[in-house]
């Protein structure tokens, strides 16, 4: 059939209909052919069956619609033990307490000072093994940090800035050398205050060794300095490396309280002396910490907000113990820390105009996290 010019005017309706029908079916056929080519090409190039998956995988991700379970088939409320690592202070915190922790950690809560005041006033009992109480007493008796309330705010700011420049020290060690360093190297204010006026400090709290049984004493002495103050007859609740007392004093106290056979301070080499950790230290720490009662992972964050003490620093020594027990932080605990930290650092510098640089260099400390991650 040769193509020729046709005039449509001479045709009646049926012919026109037939023509239209022809054209229509041609178009449909062409469209189908196009689809066939697409499929043919996909099969030949090898990507047609790409998105097929096996039955097993499909079953895995099926939605569950039963009462009492969520769409994954999981029971509700089983997520109490989730943890995460604070990008600011690099500590492992229980996820459900992260927000209050972060608030204190970044120093932006309005509750911080109020709660801290309350804590100082009420904390009195060292027998209670709960984290918060130990925390409290430790801090309050800590001559470095316990100021009268008027000094609170100023102190906190400066400590914070200082802390963040030190944040590379991953303070897993309850006896973090940071404390002693800060006393020695911080300019002016702090270090002077340590010796300047002892009567400013709060002597109301403290451990009265006479009221404690031998077991309690023993357990207490494995974590605290314990040297008995001549003024108050109470035991020092600072860490075992507290600079105010010597090892000799500590040894003497232990002998005095527990008898000559009492093992004194643990050997120096099992303690972490520097800022560098490796896995073996972690292991030692962990085994020692197994003893330490409470299973509560996170610092109860209200405890972290001590008035005079800056938040992060006061928390660190004790809380680190707990962290090492549960190092399952989701994604990049060590790595993400610096990122988060740097941003908070800049914001805090904005807060306080004084930026104190520690005299010591700050090495990036490989932490226990790195090894476990």
């Amino acid at each position: 059939m040769k193509m020729e010019d046709m005039s449509l005017s001479g045709l009646d309706n049926t012919k026109l209909e037939a023509l239209a029908q022809d054209i229509y079916s041609d178009l449909v056929e062409d469209a189908c052919l196009g689809l066939c080519f697409e499929v043919h090409r996909a099969v030949k190039q090898g990507y047609f069956f790409l998105d097929d998956t096996d039955q097993e995988s499909m079953k895995d991700f099926e939605i569950v619609d039963q009462p009492g379970v969520d769409i994954f088939g999981q029971v509700y409320n089983q997520w109490k033990n989730k943890e995460c690592v604070c990008p600011n202070c690099n500590r492992s915190i229980a996820a459900s307490r992260f927000a209050p922790h972060l608030e204190k950690c970044l120093g932006m809560g309005r509750n911080s000072s109020r709660i801290a005041n309350r804590r100082i006033a009420s904390s009195n009992n060292m027998n209670n093994k709960s984290e918060s109480d130990q925390e409290d007493n430790d801090d309050v008796n800590d001559n470095d940090w316990s100021y009268g309330s008027e000094k609170k705010a100023k102190k906190r700011k400066s400590d914070k800035v200082f802390l963040h420049s030190l944040k590379q020290h991953i303070p897993l060690n309850p006896n973090s050398p940071r404390r002693s360093k800060s006393v020695k190297h911080k300019n002016g204010e702090l270090s002077n205050s340590v010796n300047a006026d002892p009567y400013k400090y709060n002597y109301n709290t403290g451990i009265n060794y006479e009221t404690l049984g031998p077991d309690e004493l023993r357990s207490l002495l494995t974590t605290q300095c314990g040297v008995i103050s001549e003024h108050t007859k109470k035991m020092c609740t600072r860490s075992q490396r507290c600079p105010q007392h010597t090892d000799e004093q500590r040894r003497a106290v232990r002998v005095f309280l527990l008898g000559p056979s009492a093992s004194s301070l643990p050997d120096a080499d099992t303690m972490v002396e520097s800022d560098c950790y490796d896995a073996s230290d972690g292991q030692v720490l962990m085994s020692r910490l197994q003893w330490d009662g409470s299973s509560d992972i996170s610092p109860s964050d209200s405890a972290s907000s001590k008035a005079s003490t800056n938040n992060s620093d006061s928390k660190k020594p004790k809380k680190k113990k707990k962290m090492s027990l549960g190092l399952n932080s989701t994604g990049g605990g060590g790595g993400s820390g610096s990122g988060g930290g740097s941003s908070s650092q800049t914001s805090l510098v904005g807060l306080s105009n004084r930026k104190k640089k520690p005299k010591l260099p700050v090495p990036p400390a490989p932490s226990i996290y790195d090894n476990l991650n």
């Binding site: 090898g46 499909m58 997520w79 608030e103």
Partner: protein, 516 residues
């Protein structure tokens, strides 16, 4: 040589084959202009039977047209030993030795270029900008290497209707349900999801604190297939760092969080808009603006000279007053008794979202105490003000003002507002304003105009009081499949559950998207 090619093309690929092939494509396959179309129609007929359909093919080695259906081209191939022919409709190359269509990389490249040239001549539209020029949209094809990898790893995570992928719970970090519910709404915004899953964010921030990167990471977490809830601690930290007014451990307002989050995302998106540095907020083309920003037109009409002064402000959400607050809701129009509007009585039945929108776009008499300086009259006159939608965003977020903070009281307004699954915004557009001047609220819908049709995809609800409460979200994952997100627990929900809920933030998505 790819598995889809064949060795017999080598015989063809000699001398000036590329140019010859181009000519064939230009003249006989892709017709650019009207003349070439005519020429093709007249000259392309089977040399043996005269048919011009029947899957006509052209021999690649000589000038011969033969139809495929009647095997005339096959005969020619056998007789002349010309092994290759080209289909004149779609440009596919057929090899008579392999007896199949083959796909040769070089030849396909030429075909693609010629097709593009022809389309340009035809004045066709290219929506996709890639590798320096505008292309037609083409689906993704794996490279050889990718195919290999995929074949070695046959387990896939295929997203079907009954699939949990894309859904994930969020741990409450301590009164952070306001953040969790917004995150759920955002991760189920289809366009936003597509943007992040196709990795379109190119970060230009130096530090590690880009919220858009974190958002991207969030999508990865949601589509990872993990069942345990995600812990959005990094997100919280970043938001608090960048939006100081939100920081603090206390219960916050989800709506405030939404606006703050969109703002930070918008600020961090700077480098994404095809290289244009968008420091000018009116000129930003980041994904947040493309999806969420609409234009609200405010017309102030002078009562004396009827001159209208118009301003257009960008918006990310529409805050709607509710009946039950201290400002009167009814009547909708000044002076009208409001009892019947176009046949609909408002006194019976619950307030609807449409009612709230009508009130929002009603002409409001500003009163004698708020006279506006009229540029027409050059004096202070009374006026009416009216808000309408100038430009609708792709995702429209409606905020029902349930929290009243007036001087006397602070309370939550629990009035039930019924909202539809599908919403037509046409009556509230600036263009529809003229028909509403008299207070007549027409609901006539032009069925062919799909521009303003929206469908609901997320609902944020608040249970409790002003001081303390809990936020949950309903989200739509697939068409008509809804889920309730209550922090770490995701459960299936029915459409009835969604529509019966109180509603605080309502997210609607445009149904039909058009390229500009």
């Amino acid at each position: 040589m790819s598995p889809a090619g064949c060795p017999h093309v080598n015989g063809f690929k000699v001398d000036n084959w590329k140019q010859n092939l181009r000519v064939i494509y230009q003249c006989f396959v892709w017709s650019g202009s009207a003349e070439t179309r005519k020429r093709k129609a007249k000259s392309c007929i089977c040399h043996m039977c005269g048919a011009h359909l029947n899957r006509l093919h052209s021999c690649l080695s000589c000038v011969f047209f033969g139809c495929f259906t009647k095997k005339h081209i096959h005969e020619h191939a056998k007789n002349k030993r010309h092994n290759l022919a080209i289909d004149l409709l779609y440009g596919g190359i057929y090899c008579f030795v392999c007896q199949d269509y083959i796909y040769d990389k070089d030849m396909e490249q030429i075909a693609k270029e010629e097709q593009r040239k022809a389309w340009k001549l035809q004045g066709r539209f290219f929506p996709l900008f890639s590798q320096g020029q505008w292309e037609k949209y083409s689906t993704w094809e794996p490279t050889k290497r990718e195919l290999e990898l995929l074949r070695h790893n046959p387990k896939r995570r295929k997203i079907t209707t009954n699939c949990t992928i894309g859904l994930r719970g969020l741990i409450n970090l301590g009164n952070t349900c306001f953040m969790n519910c917004i995150v759920q709404a955002l991760t189920h915004t289809p366009l936003l999801r597509d943007f992040f899953l196709s990795d379109r964010h190119k970060c230009e921030m130096q530090s590690n604190s880009c919220l858009v990167c974190e958002m991207s990471q969030l999508f990865q977490e949601f589509y990872s297939g993990h069942r345990s809830p995600h812990i959005p601690f990094r997100l919280l930290h970043l938001v608090w760092t960048h939006a100081r007014h939100l920081a603090g451990y206390e219960q916050q307002d989800a709506h405030e969080f939404l606006i703050a989050a969109l703002d930070v995302l918008h600020r961090h998106c700077k480098g994404d808009d095809n290289g244009k540095k968008a420091n000018n907020p009116n000129n930003c083309n980041c994904i947040i603006d493309q999806i969420f920003t609409g234009g609200l037109q405010s017309d102030v009409t002078c009562q004396v000279c009827h001159g209208v002064s118009t301003t257009i402000d960008p918006f990310w959400d529409i805050s709607l007053d509710l009946p039950g607050s201290s400002t009167p809701f009814w009547p909708l129009s000044p002076g009208g008794d409001g009892s019947t509007l176009n046949g609909e009585s408002h006194l019976s039945g619950a307030t609807t979202l449409t009612d709230c929108l009508r009130r929002f776009t009603r002409p409001e008499h500003l009163g004698s105490s708020a006279k506006i300086k009229c540029s027409g009259c050059h004096s202070y006159q009374e006026s009416t003000k009216q808000l309408t939608m100038k430009k609708l965003p792709i995702v429209a977020c409606f905020h029902l003002k349930r929290f009243e903070h007036s001087a006397k009281l602070r309370r939550k307004i629990p009035t039930y507002v019924s909202f539809p699954l599908e919403l037509d915004m046409t009556p509230f557009m600036a263009s529809s304003k003229e028909s509403r001047m008299n207070g007549q609220y027409q609901q006539s819908v032009d069925v062919f105009n799909n521009d303003n049709k929206y469908s609901l995809f997320a609902v944020v609800n608040h249970q409790g009081t002003l001081e303390s409460g809990h936020y949950t979200t309903f989200i739509r994952q697939h068409k008509d499949q809804w889920f309730k997100c209550d922090d770490a627990v995701i459960t299936k929900a029915s459409i009835k559950d969604v529509l019966d809920s109180e509603g605080y933030l309502l997210f609607y998505h445009k149904q039909f998207l058009e390229y500009e």
